[in-house]
């Protein structure tokens, strides 16, 4: 029972859990939502002038990049993180803001409508690479920092889980913060990298369909 509770609100105890949640809400969930969105929905929505105008205003690399990466940076400032843990309204707003910012960030990459995606692909790759670099830098700072996030050094222990975490799992506050930083440094970067690979795969697939058939022969052709 307590384990189930922990899965729901582990971020009351562990910074690393909180970090995993951020990565899921900001990077994974919105990307999957966009990838799963039927094209017809986007078509319908874009037919409304107001939405189309809003999209045109937001869908600029500088804005979407700063929204996505900015959200990641903002929620990890010690003061903001502490406030989100102690002040209920902020705690409620946090996950929604992450999903929305994430969706804005991923829109130029994974928009259901190809004409709204960023071109040419090397620009999109650079967009993703610099997010990855920023994310890595933050991960490095958090991993190496001798200062610990205040809320996680001495968690309030609402479910009596603390002895299990500290003694059975042997996760000290330092190690917890290291895990969190490393999650941001390595796996989060892999998400960006996977997107870069997806971009290139799409790009090279285009090239082979648009070039005239230089290879008329069957497989194993001999020049």
């Amino acid at each position: 029972m307590s384990l189930a509770r922990f899965l729901i609100s582990g971020d009351a105890y562990l910074f690393s859990f909180h970090m995993a949640k951020h990565i899921f809400l900001l990077l994974i969930a919105p990307a999957l939502l966009l990838l799963a969105m039927p094209r017809s929905w986007a078509e319908t929505a874009m037919r409304r002038p107001a939405i189309a105008a809003l999209e045109r205003w937001i869908n600029r690399p500088a804005i979407t990049w700063i929204t996505g990466v900015g959200a990641m940076i903002l929620w990890h400032f010690p003061a903001v993180l502490a406030a989100s843990m102690s002040w209920k309204p902020l705690h409620t707003v946090e996950p929604f803001s992450l999903v929305i910012c994430g969706a804005i960030y991923w829109w130029p990459i994974f928009s259901p409508l190809p004409r709204l995606r960023m071109t040419p692909v090397p620009h999109a790759a650079a967009y993703l690479f610099f997010s990855c670099a920023t994310c890595t830098a933050m991960g490095i700072v958090i991993t190496f920092s001798p200062l610990l996030y205040a809320g996680y050094a001495m968690p309030a222990d609402p479910y009596g889980m603390l002895p299990i975490i500290r003694d059975n799992w042997a996760i000290s506050p330092q190690m917890d913060q290291q895990i969190g930083g490393l999650l941001m440094w390595v796996p989060a970067c892999l998400i960006y990298l996977a997107a870069i690979m997806a971009m290139f795969a799409r790009w090279y697939a285009e090239e082979t369909t648009t070039v005239e058939p230089a290879d008329g022969d069957k497989k194993g052709c001999i020049a």
Partner: protein
Amino acid sequence: VSDIPITPGLGVPEVMGAGYPQAERSTWLDWVSTVDHKRIGILYLLATLVFFCIGGTEAILMRIQLAWAGNTFLSPDMYDQVFTMHGTTMIFLVVVPLLLGLANYLTPLMIGASDMALPRLNAFSFWAFLFGGILLHFSFLNGHAPDAGWFSYTPLSDQGFSLRHGLDYWALALLGIGVGTIGTAINLIATIFNLRTDGLTIRRLPLFVWMVLVNSFLIIAALPALNASLVMLLIDRQLNAHFFTHVGGGSPILWQHYFWAFGHPEVYIMVLPAFGIISEVIPVFSRKEIFGYGFVAASTVAIGILSLGVWAHHMFAVGLGHAWDYAFGASSMLIAVPTGVKIFNWVATMWGGAIRFTTSMLFAIAFLFTFTIGGLTGVTFATVPVDWQLTDTYYVVAHMHYVLFGGTLFAVMAGLYYWFPKMSGRMLSESYGKVHFWLMFIGFHMAFFIQHILGLDGMPRRVYTYPALPGWTAMNMISSIGVLVLGISILVLLANIVSSLRAGAPAGPNPWNAWTLEWATSSPPPEHDFDAVPPVHGRRPLRDLSRSLITHPPAPPRRFSTIKVAMATFIASEAVFFVFLIAAYVFFHGATVEGPTARNSLNPPRTLIFTICLLASSGTILLAERSLTRSRQKSFRGWLALTILLGAAFLAGQGWEYSDLISKNIVPARNLFGASFFTLTGFHGFHVLCGLVALAALFGIAVRRNFGSKASSGLGAVAMYWHFVDAVWIVIFSLVYLTVWL
């Protein structure tokens, strides 16, 4: 297997294949003063051949010493120097410049250009590299070569444990080589971005060129980390600072992080162009297009990016903690995926092809075989407990030689046999070549396979001798004999090169019936490379040409301003350099320091005044540019002069601050604040000075004559640099000075 004859020049129009009248015999001065990419490429290859022979001799000396237990051929001290020099030479003076030399020779030819984008920078890069190489070896003449291994771990390499000057030579030489390498990377990027012939879009690039491009970006991202660590090591050694020693609160682990943040990408810098060579050679000798071009190209990017974020797997034995080990073990294993699939791409290219087993192809196949073994032993190291057992044993030595020698060098040999006809106009002898191949292949596996077993048995690397444990002498003897066989194979190669240069069969423009543009010009190519570049409509232009599939002229690719691309890349490399210096400041700022700190010794209001000067100069240079576009020469000169004055005022302010601090005995040797503060602000000041020199040069030109449109792009580049220097100062000022008020 097919025995289709290879017809020289098939599919190449007569005019392009025509032999070119050779210029009169060139003198040594022509070579020393050359800016031609082909000659510089050949100079690179010759220099690396010399260094390869030196490094190989060092290897033979080591293997003689290790041939049996308790040998006294080399003294322990001498052995330390020899293995350090062997590793440093092979990595920095052989493998990397060898690949850069090939890239230098081939890139313009493969993209239909007549030279590199910045020929004089190209010559500078080569001579910087050669100067570094000579400086490194000069340490022998000075009495003591570096002796702390190729990664020079601190504190062993710091002033306390290394009293002689070998490591100073090591650090300075590597700085020179690093500058040269970055210069070449900038040049290659600018060349590939801007000098492609019509129709050659990025997605049609020959894979060798694509991998050289990715590799150049990797160099820009990684090499500055080495340069930053080297200057910090030098400041430790020469100015008695304590970045990397426990004395005074420094951190030896920081050296390991910094070194491997460069060192791991370096592994891929040494192998990506080799992948490119293999991707050119295998399709041509299988008579098939590469299987999965898109995957091979895209996975190269993935390998490049992954390689930047996995360096801590070199440090599992340090005890960073379980969280570290899991994260980096997992990410390191992931690199095996894109790399492993590439192997399948090459094998699938050969599948069903009409394979011709030329020497070049044999080396390419040997690469696949050997590199796969080396890759697999690499995966075992990503498994943390295995790494703990095997780190610093001969298993590592075997792994790294399988990757670097059996991987990269075999690929380079494949490339040498493939492109030598293009460079010299003569074929290398196939019969010599086969002897060379088999001697090298057998010698290599004899020398290094057995080292896996020695390593598993616990034989440590870098130790000058070993006890007579059961089987160790026998295994070491096998390895030593293998190295001698390798040495003989190199002699066969040299004999082959010399005899082929004298009396090899004439190559003709396209002896292999290959597809890429370098085969559309004479062998060797004329000084301007091409009389006419064939039109490009796909990835195999010469093949398309022979089939008359071309109906319309190709569209020009997107091109950029060369000087701006070069400057932007240069700035990117400088940014990485500063990131490492800034990180060092922040890292040590968090440490507990006794004595002066930013809070009690700096004067932020005064620095703020000079900061405003520097920031204002960014505005004045913008105004100068605007005056120039409106062709108001007089106001342009005025704004330029004001920019110089403001920059000089900033430097004067820094001088004032420094003299204040030094008079209070706050110097790099005092404590970590002194060391990291002076390093960071000093290097920034140095950059301001360089910018001032460039601005003064522009001003000198502007005073003598009116600025034309050509010179204005130079002004644009200097302005970019100047804005960058200002941006770096904003970061430094906020971190160092503004935090005082927090």
